[in-house]
């Protein structure tokens, strides 16, 4: 009988990550490992550096120092020429799907074109293949009937589900969500969270920045509480929500719950 080979490296590996904006140190040496299929929920007060952390992962922000690896591959390599590094980045970014608070759908493209754009242009899929995948994904997020609409005609919740489908179309190993329900009307939040829960159940590795504590309790394998650019406390949702050890965590949860 074959034994499934044990992975020797975590899916996401962050070591000593620091990020400064000028004199402001926003990330103060983060160490964080996320295992394959793990759902990690990142919480913390405004300005604690949650978005910056996500954006450093796919190099939308350039880390000041530290090491980031995705699936064993170093993201912020320093051994490449500027040109080669850009090519390297374009490739590793395809392994990380990112969903933004404000959707950032392409307004000049239909829902279908939004989803097929990168698979065709970057992965060189044929139009038919990309279209087939896109339609499957749209069905999965419950928006098959909207495939020929322009984003301006969709509700916030629908836009966000398209944005998730767009990221999934690249078949990423990791999904990063940055407060994806914060800009939505309350009654639209549920649909988006359900899609994310499905994804978690299917074994996607996810880092989710959110203020939806209910989601964190239901779906997270681990909750990380950040404050002032550092990880203040982490643990299972039960532990963090029912028995937080740190005073800052207690205060934060007292404010939001």
């Amino acid at each position: 009988m074959k034994t499934t080979e044990e992975k020797t490296h975590p899916m996401i590996d962050i070591r000593g990550l620091r990020k400064c904006f000028g004199a402001l140190e926003v990330l103060k040496g983060i160490d964080l490992q996320v295992a394959e299929s793990e759902v990690l929920v990142l919480i913390g007060p405004s300005g604690s550096g949650k978005s910056t952390l996500l954006r450093c992962l796919n190099h939308l922000e350039t880390p000041t120092s530290g090491e980031i690896s995705i699936n064993g591959e170093r993201v912020n390599r320093t051994d490449l020429s500027a040109r080669a590094f850009q090519r390297h980045l374009n490739r590793v970014r395809t392994h990380m799907g990112m969903v933004f608070q404000h959707f950032n759908l392409f307004p000049h493209k239909t829902v279908l074109e939004n989803i097929t754009e990168a698979p065709v242009q970057v992965l060189r899929q044929t139009r038919e293949d990309a279209r087939r995948t896109a339609l499957e994904l749209l069905e999965r997020v419950g928006l098959l009937d909207k495939c020929d609409e322009y984003p301006a005609r969709l509700s916030g919740g629908q836009k966000q589900r398209v944005a998730i489908a767009r990221a999934l179309a690249m078949q990423p190993s990791v999904m990063l969500f940055d407060e994806v329900t914060s800009a939505l009307d309350p009654e639209l939040v549920g649909d988006v969270l359900r899609v994310m829960e499905d994804l978690a159940r299917d074994g996607m590795t996810m880092i989710v920045v959110t203020h939806e504590m209910g989601f964190a309790q239901r779906v997270a394998d681990r909750v990380v509480f950040m404050a002032d650019g550092d990880i203040c406390e982490q643990g299972t949702p039960e532990r963090i929500f029912n028995d937080p050890q740190q005073e800052r965590t207690q205060k934060f949860l007292g404010d939001v719950l």
Binding site: N104, L105, P107
Partner: protein, 218 residues
């Protein structure tokens, strides 16, 4: 009173001159768009070797009169062995001139596309060039078609300056016919009429283009 008989009699001359004016305008428009796009991309580039020459070009053109630019090219360049025909001197001067204004327009359009659009594209693995071509420029285009159209209308009117370098376009046609008809009012009126015809035609065409570039109305 208007002398309608000279107007009718000489209108074929003006029609022919209008064709030349249109030719100069359209060629300058196309070359000027290329100049403008290249200059805008260079001004926005991080590389100073691209940025500074482009900035200098835009500054130089915008801070000097078109007539002087035209004279430098037509009368000045031959001193260095660059002897262009009146037609190509005119086109070059007009294209360089409108290009500088287009560059500013295009740069503004590109910069007004939200940063989130670029981040979304880059996070999908799209290169900077691909992002510019597929995501940013198409969105900028919608914003810049009206001001670019404006630049084009100005360009058509500016072609009257090439009358000073012996190009028999509308203005010089009027001037020459005045010599034989002694009817300056009628002749200049004819020139004005054809300019208005060209600029209005261009404006209508651009309105059409504008509505086609609008991808949604929500």
């Amino acid at each position: 009173m208007l002398d309608w008989s000279v107007i009718f009699h000489y209108s074929p001359f003006f029609l022919k001159a209008a064709v030349l004016t249109l030719q100069i305008s359209v060629i300058s428009l196309i070359v000027g768009l290329v100049f403008g796009l290249v200059a805008a991309l260079c001004v926005l580039a991080k590389n100073p070797l691209l940025q500074w020459p482009a900035r200098f070009y835009v500054w130089l053109i915008r801070s000097t009169p078109l007539l002087v630019q035209l004279f430098i090219i037509y009368f000045g360049f031959p001193q260095f062995g660059l002897d262009l025909s009146p037609f190509w001197s005119g086109v070059l001067a007009l294209a360089l001139n409108t290009g500088a204004y287009n560059a500013e327009t295009i740069r503004g359009g590109i910069q007004s596309v939200p940063a989130g659009q670029v981040e979304a594209a880059r996070s999908l693995g799209m290169s900077a060039a691909l992002t510019m071509r597929r995501i940013v420029l198409p969105q900028a285009l919608r914003l810049i078609i009206p001001p670019l159209g404006n630049n084009f209308v100005i360009l058509i009117k500016d072609t009257s300056l090439v009358s000073t370098i012996t190009l028999v376009e509308l203005t010089l046609t009027a001037q020459r016919l005045i010599g034989s008809t002694y009817k300056p009012f009628e002749m200049y009126l004819m020139a004005a009429f054809f300019y208005a015809l060209l600029t209005t035609g261009a404006t209508l065409l651009l309105k059409k283009l504008e509505s086609r570039a609008a991808w949604s109305h929500a």
